[in-house]
């Protein structure tokens, strides 16, 4: 019973997160401006992080938690650098 509950919930959750990643990819491809693409990339990072967390629960392995943490950190740095670039035209002043 609890095996079935976890399997169904994880399947539905991973499908939802995959659809969310598709929505973010659509916004990143369509634009229309650069800040929309950066925002969509940020959302894509977050969705990928949540996808890895769900995958960690699915496999019962805590290794994926560290990958999710690294994705979160890199996503933060990437979005800040891109926002800085959009504002100033350079990243490091």
């Amino acid at each position: 019973m609890n095996v079935l509950i976890m399997q169904v919930a994880l399947f539905v959750a991973q499908s939802f997160l995959a659809i969310a990643m598709l929505f973010c990819t659509y916004r990143m491809a369509v634009g229309p401006r650069a800040q929309d693409r950066v925002l969509a990339l940020d959302g894509l990072y977050v969705c990928a992080m949540l996808q890895l967390l769900a995958f960690g629960v699915r496999t019962g392995n805590t290794l994926y938690f560290e990958a999710a943490l690294i994705i979160g950190m890199l996503g933060f740095v990437a979005t800040v650098a891109l926002a800085k670039f959009l504002m100033r035209g350079e990243v490091i002043e």
């Binding site: 916004r27 929309d36 977050v46 949540l50 938690f65 933060f76």
Partner: protein, 130 residues
């Protein structure tokens, strides 16, 4: 693969599944808003659903699952929740400021004018720490 599922009690499986579904649903709603909303300043609000309770729900579900599976408190996932909660306002503030700066320099309509407030902005000539 399903060995760990069988080890958790039923209440933990139900609770963990509910939190995981909540998190994934909120992430989906946030991404749907990101794809559907009209202007950038509307869209910038949508992904915060995924980063607040989306990440919170997934982290809670993961914590409950691993705590029940390992029969000891496993709370290192809370690092992700704290980190995402702290960093999202910073990134979205910077992105919003960059967007409004670009819109102002392009003279796009619908952008509020620069108000001379008591807080010195970066464009003030008498900036003290210049």
């Amino acid at each position: 693969m399903s060995v760990a599922y069988a080890e958790v009690p039923l209440w933990a499986a139900i609770l963990s599944a509910a939190f995981i579904l909540l998190g994934a649903t909120l992430a989906l709603i946030g991404a749907f808003g990101l794809a559907r909303l009209g202007s950038f300043y509307d869209r910038i609000h949508a992904p915060t659903l995924a980063t607040s309770w989306g990440a919170g729900g997934m982290v809670m579900g993961s914590m409950i699952f691993f705590t029940a599976a390992a029969a000891r408190p496993v709370i290192h996932e809370i690092l992700i929740g704290v980190f995402v909660t702290v960093t999202t306002p910073v990134t979205l503030m910077m992105l919003g400021r960059a967007a409004i700066y670009r819109d102002r320099s392009d003279n796009n309509p619908g952008i509020p004018p620069i108000v001379k407030s008591d807080r010195p902005s970066e464009t003030d000539e008498n900036r003290a720490d210049a």
